[in-house]
Every structure is written in structure tokens, then in C-alpha cells.
Symmetry: C2
């Protein structure tokens, strides 16, 4: 241990600290597929020296003040459902487990806000809201595996974002502890023009600029009515055009997902299916929902869409928290699976899709694609990769090769290297290419807020003042 | 002059620099009502030592690099339509007039984006878009007086924000020059999770953190259909409740404005009118617009609303760029007028309205109020104050008294001190109370990005490293 563990115990309370190997090892793997291979191989390349269970803002402040004074890395951890390595302690030190901070602090049905502690499990929060006739609107596939604080840290986006927005649209305020232990709470407001909106410094910062302890989110009344429908298109380009025209028309169905032929076969459990499938859902007041859904279907019809009814959408809704397709591959020796999500404008998404599909096909048994979040300007593209290597070491090499090709193609095509999973460790080698000059801006902010470089050091290519940034995922290999 | 003017001429080109008194004086008053009184009195308490006309990013970079080296204040200026004193040079030095950077750089109808130089006049941009069947969706009352860069600097919000969003929702990317002359352009993306969204550092920073030179905005197809309607309520609380229920239902009419009795009389040009008036408008596809407008009217009906037809909305649309009510007062000696916009959650807005109205009534001849921007969580409150003092010095004192009372009441009530006009000079004394601990965060960012404190110094309570912040509007008095 590179720091005085007794001092740490004195600062945060002995019962909050563990240095037991099994505890430390359990924070050395998140849900990143590469970490799954490490787990299978018994490897722990990124293990903290101690784990501190954080029970509130005061304790987080004590920990960080001490860490900044002593130069000890502190990496925040929610529930470890990140698929990028974001909460793995690249520089060792302490993992700050935020999951003990759990529960609703305040729910306001008139103002439609809920305040929850950062470690609150998403699914539990959503269930509590539903019992009151409310919903978060935010429904990532990880809903039952991830925390409120994790959503803020990773810039999460849910499956119904086209109606409700992504986490940056849903967050009203939060309490954050800076590296020096200073805690601050952003003012609550429906909207303000009182200087720059500095909440955004911490949304998507992956714990490098502060540790979020409590979050106030918008909530929504549960919709009274819903209309669902699936549509088949022969050509994927027609499906993409329909996505574009739906958003262009100002419609906002909460569910818009387009599956390419390979993934449509999985979705429909029909190996002989040809074409692509669009899942559509609208919700809200009855007559508006009916009009919106009809408008969506008219656009589909004008582009050769053949209605498949609500069945495929209902089946998807039933299975949307099921990770078995990916997980099966991760349980077998040599098996590998990845999910890579990117985004592009309408003018670039078709080409990005084709180039990615072609580039990745030789590197995996299956390359499944869907478009899952739509905007008037463009859409996200989610790629699922499934493969089988000769052994686990070969599976690791296969995962690296997939990422290198995917990110190179994405950058060549002018796409965005992550739509909602974030950077973590897996995208670090590509981050500066993606951000260009604005990475230097991020580095300046980091030096101002965390000069000792103790908050999740190395992530986002950020260390303390005067330390050369991490630039390659390769560095972190066992 | 406190710096070497010949050096400045060498840096940016002699033809770009003016030190003539009439030029310097024309940048010493914006559209702040207090500045109007100064103009009437021939006072120029905040006059730059030189004016530099900025013709592009390179020239802005040269100016700022020199300014940082020499410690010369640089205050960005769009078209001076700010109503807060934001572009007035509190520390003297140079005003950087950005209006020569004008015009559309690129328009993409497929991706629905437009890139315009920062000095582009809003109304000209909107007209160019309309000629192509597109619109900004952003339509502030200042549309024909303000620039694209000014919107970003002040966190502007338009009259149709309930459908299209405010400027932070509409900006996709921009080029910004930092204090040391480094220029950077944010990556273009429909949405990204590639680190924190640092665009927000500059949106609403009022030119204290960077000078924006080129902006890419979302655009929208012009709506094919529109439904308009006004509704009268006896009690204002019923009208407010209707605003809340419209947003709670997930409806998004582009136009939602509720006028209290005093302002309704102006709006309707009917001195005998009693009650309050709601203006409603929906736009988009025909059947959805019809359903949405009907849903809004049903909510009105359930709360005792009496339909007044489309006439009052059409009249408002015709006059919405007319500032004569305010301007008439500013032309007469001793006359004063102010507009103060704040915001609150639904649970607080009624009380904030009543307390503000009561507190300000003794200080002005007329206190007119409307609610102009709605969110599921709350609404903005816009207060227009008209008065007549014995002379111009008394008018100045009256304006100060109005602000002191309004801001004190707003802070007491837990409201937001500005919804969309920003801070400028007029709200400086109340800024740290409004931001609480997070003002320190802003100060740290300022020190990291502008250690010499040259960008609009003094504004947002920010100077360079080691300089005590401006805390009072009073300091700036002639």
C-alpha cells in the first residue's frame, strides 16, 4: 500500500474501509467485456489498494480532502455496470463505492422533481415513482444495474430519449464534492441565465472532476395512452430515411429503433427474415398519441414500409433488460462480445454504417446493428459484436482489434466515437482525436479543479498538473 | 490610454481600430434602461479606450493574445441590445465589436444545421432560412436587434422555447477564442458522451471566458399548420394552474403566454378588461396540432377559461417586436422603464408573483406581469415597470430601487434571479447570493482560462487570478 491506511481509517471511519483481497478484486472488474475476460482469466490488472464505502457528502468530502493532501487516487464507483472500464482504478489508490448512499430524499409531485442519493439503484427509483404514477422517462438498458450518480458521471441516455431526453436534459441539480473536499450544491431552477451552466462540467466527466452525492431529476406523469407498432422495410436506407423524416416532422415518439437485417433476425427470432425492422412507440394523451402514431406510419408507408403490428415491439419491451445474447459469449472460454455505440448526422450515418459493418465483419462471427436514439440532426448506431476465439488470450486480442477498427472507421467517417457509453478505458486511445483542440480545454479545467490529479486519474486523458496524460488503452494491459 | 495604441494597431490592423470619441461613446451604452438614462444625461461611465472591429477568428485570436500579454481588458460586443449592461467595458480597455463577422457559412437542409458567423443579425439569419422553408425556432423579442454570438453569450431564450428549446438546446457547436488567443472549434455531433460538454462553459458566460466567432445551430422545417387561441380566466391562479397542467400533460404548444390583469389591459388595449389572458399556439402537422390545441383548450375549460378566439394572439404576433411601451418612457426626461425576468418552480411562482407585484407597486406607476416560458417544473415571470420621476437623476435612483427590491424578493422566495436576460451589470450585486458556493467554481474556471482577467473583466464577479471580484452595481456609477 502506497499510503497510510490507518490515516485513511481515521479520516473516514474504520468500518468504511476494506483492504481485503476479495473486496479489492471485486472492484477490479466492471461490466466491460474485456474485464469479463480478465475475470475469466483470474486477472486483476486494475485493483484498488483500499475500498471505502461512502455513506454521504460529508464522508466523501473528508475522503477527498485527505486524498488531495496525500496525493492518493480516488475512483468513484456506482454499481460497476459501466461497459468501458470507467470505474476501474487505473492508478490504484482508493475506490469510493457510492452505493451505500441510497434512497429518495424528496419527491415533489407538483414540481415534478425527485431528489435521490447518488447510489440509488435506477430500477428501485423508477419503481418508487411508478407507485406514485410517475416515471423518470430515463430508461437505459442498465436501469436495474446502474445508479443515479452513474448516469450523471457517464452522460447516460435511455431507450425513450426521443421523448424524454438524455440525462443532461433530465438533471436539474446535484451536490458534488470537488477534489479538495469542497462540497457544493447547484441552485434548483426550471431554467436560468445566471452565468454558464457549470453542471455540465460533471455530467459525463466520469468522476474525474468531482464526486456526485445527490441528484435532483425531472420526473413525468405516467402516460395514459400508448401506441406501438413495428414496420418492415426491404432496404435499410429506407428505414434510415424514415427515422430522419419522423424527427424532421417534429414528431416525438418515445420509442424509435431501427434494426438491420442481421439484428432483426435476432429480434424477431426468425433466421430467414429479410429486410430491416423499425420499432415505434408513442405515448401521452389518447388523441395526440393516435395522431402521432398515424403520422409515423404514414411516413413509413410512403417509403415502402410493411406494418408488422405491435407484437415485435411488445416482445422487445419484455426482453429489453435481457443481456443474454452478449452474456452467453462472455461465459464460454475464448468467447467474446462487445457493444460499440457511435453517432452521426443524417448525411453521414448511412456511410458510417456500411463502412463499420464491412470493417468489422472479418473480425467477429456476428455484427448486429441498430439505430436507437434519434434527433432532428442524426442518430446513434449501436453495434453488437459476437465472436469465438481459440482461447481467452486470443479473445482479448480480438476485442482490441474490434475497437481499433471501429474507432478508426468512425473517426475517418467524421462520426462521434460514443453516443452514450462514454470513454472509460476502452476509448481512451481515440479521445484526443475525437475532441481535437477542446481536449486541451478539458485539461485546463482538470488542472484548475483537481491539481493533484486524485479524481479517477488517467481517465479522459487527465492527470494532475504537470503529468503527461494517459493516451493508450494498451498501457493498462496486464 | 493605458496601453500602447500603436501596438494594438500593428496587431489587428490600423483600419480595425478606432479611438475617436464618438465611436468610443457609442459603445458605452447598451439597451439597458439605466444606460438609456445615462445617454439622456450625456454620461459615459463605461467607455472603452479603443474599439476594434473584429472580422474573423484569426483577428480575434491576435487581439486576445496581445491583450493577455499586455493585461488589456477586452469586452465582446454584438449589437448592444443587451438590457443588463453585459457588453459595457467595466474596466475600460478595448471593446471588440463582433458585428463585422456576419453571414451564413453553411446551411445543411438534410442535417438541419446552419453555421453562421457570430455577428450575424438574428433577423437576417431567420429571413434567409425562411426563404428556404426553414426556421431557427429561436425567436427572442430582440430577434432583429441581436446577434447569434450574443444569444450564446447571454443564454438567450426565444418566445417559442416551449417547443423549440432555448439557445443551449439549439447550439450544436461553435468556434471560440480563449483569452490567450487559442481558438478551438467544438466537434459537431447530434449527441455525444465524449467527456463533459464543455460548450456550456461559454453559453451564458457573457464573454468572460471566451469570444465566440462562429456558431452552428439546429434549424427546423417551417411548420405546415398552426392553431392559435386566447383564453380569459377570472383568477390568475387558474391561469397558472393551466400552464402547469399543459406542461404536465407533455403537450408542447410553441406559444404559451399568460398575462396578468394589468398587462392584459395593455395587450388587449382595453382599460376595462378584468381577469387574465392566456395566449396559446400550436404548430406542426395538421392533425397533431389540432389534437394538441384541443387538449390545451380542454384544460382551460376545466379551469373556467373563456375562449377569446385567435384575435388577441394574432395581434400579439403583429406587435411582438414593438418595444414602444418601454421606449416611450425612456425618451422623456425623468421617465424610466425596466423589464425584470425571473423564474420559479410551480410551487413557488404564485407567491413570487404576488410578493413581487406588492413590493414593486409603490416604486412604479405600472407593474405589468406575464409568464412567458413554461417547463414541466415551472415558469418564467416577466415584469415590466413603467414610471416617471422628477428628473433623470431621480429616474436613476428609481431604477436602482426597483432592482434592489425585485432581487431581494426573488431571492427570499427562492426564485431564479434571471430567466433569460442574464447578469450583466444590473444583477451583479445579487449574483453570489444566487449562485452560492458554485460561484467559487466559476471563479476557478475563470482563473484557469483567463488568468490575466482580460475577457470582459468584472462581469459575473470575475477578474483575473488574485483580483477581488466586483460585487456591486453601485461601484460602476458615474
Amino acid at each position: 500500500v502506497t499510503f497510510d491506511i490507518e490515516q485513511l481509517r481515521a479520516v473516514v471511519g474504520a468500518q468504511a474501509v476494506s483492504t481485503r483481497a476479495e473486496d479489492r478484486f471485486s472492484y477490479s472488474h466492471d461490466a466491460w467485456p474485456l474485464a469479463a475476460v480478465w475475470r475469466r482469466r483470474g486477472l486483476h490488472p486494475h485493483t484498488p489498494e483500499a475500498v471505502v464505502r461512502i455513506n454521504g457528502t460529508l464522508q466523501a468530502a473528508r475522503l477527498l480532502r485527505w486524498a488531495s493532501e496525500q496525493g492518493v487516487p480516488v475512483t468513484p464507483w456506482g454499481l460497476g455496470s459501466s461497459v468501458t472500464g470507467a470505474p476501474l482504478p487505473l492508478r490504484g489508490g482508493v475506490v469510493a463505492d457510492c452505493s451505500p448512499m441510497s434512497g429518495i430524499v424528496r419527491l415533489d409531485d407538483e414540481d415534478l422533481t425527485v431528489t435521490a442519493k447518488a447510489g440509488t439503484l435506477g430500477g428501485e427509483l423508477e419503481e418508487a415513482l411508478r407507485a406514485r404514477g410517475l416515471t423518470l422517462g430515463h430508461s437505459p438498458q442498465s436501469l436495474h444495474l446502474s445508479t443515479v450518480g452513474g448516469w450523471v458521471a457517464t452522460r447516460a441516455s435511455g431507450q425513450f430519449s426521443s421523448r424524454y431526453g438524455s440525462i443532461e436534459d433530465l438533471v436539474i441539480a446535484f451536490t458534488v464534492v470537488l477534489a479538495d473536499g469542497e462540497a457544493m450544491t447547484f441552485p434548483l431552477s426550471p431554467r436560468a441565465a445566471v452565468g454558464p451552466d457549470l453542471r455540465h462540467l460533471f455530467i459525463g466527466a466520469e468522476g474525474t472532476l468531482g464526486l456526485v452525492t445527490e441528484v435532483t431529476l425531472r420526473v413525468w406523469p405516467l402516460a395514459s395512452h400508448q401506441r406501438l407498432g413495428a414496420v418492415r422495410f426491404v432496404a435499410l436506407d429506407d428505414g434510415i430515411e424514415v427515422l430522419r423524416l419522423i424527427t424532421r416532422a417534429g414528431l416525438r415518439p418515445h420509442l424509435v429503433r431501427l434494426y438491420d437485417e442481421d439484428e432483426a433476425r435476432h429480434l424477431l427470432r426468425d433466421d430467414g427474415f429479410s429486410g430491416c425492422v423499425l420499432l415505434l412507440g408513442s405515448e401521452g394523451a389518447a388523441d395526440i398519441v393516435a395522431a402521432e402514431h398515424a403520422a409515423c406510419l404514414r411516413i413509413c408507408d410512403a417509403h415502402g414500409g410493411a406494418p408488422l403490428g405491435a407484437g415485435p415491439v411488445e416482445a422487445w419491451l419484455d426482453r429489453r433488460f435481457d443481456f443474454s445474447t452478449v452474456e452467453e459469449r462472455l461465459h464460454a472460454p475464448g468467447g467474446f462480445a462487445e457493444t460499440i455505440e457511435v453517432a452521426h448526422f443524417w448525411s453521414g450515418i448511412g456511410s458510417l454504417y456500411r463502412e463499420l459493418k464491412a470493417a468489422l465483419a472479418p473480425l467477429a462471427d456476428e455484427v448486429l446493428c441498430h439505430f436507437s436514439h434519434v434527433y432532428p440532426q442524426g442518430t446513434s448506431l449501436y453495434v453488437i459484436l459476437l465472436g469465438q476465439a481459440s482461447d481467452d488470450a486470443a479473445a482479448e486480442r480480438a476485442l482490441h482489434a474490434l475497437w481499433d477498427r471501429a474507432m478508426a472507421v468512425c473517426l475517418e467517417q467524421g462520426g462521434t466515437i460514443s453516443h452514450h457509453h462514454g470513454i472509460g478505458m476502452v476509448r481512451l486511445p481515440y479521445l484526443t482525436d475525437a475532441l481535437g483542440d477542446t481536449h486541451e480545454l478539458l485539461r485546463r479545467v482538470k488542472c484548475a479543479l483537481d491539481p493533484a490529479g486524485v479524481l479517477n486519474p488517467g481517465k479522459l486523458g487527465l492527470d494532475g498538473a504537470g503529468v503527461a496524460p494517459v493516451a493508450a488503452r494498451g498501457e493498462a494491459e496486464p
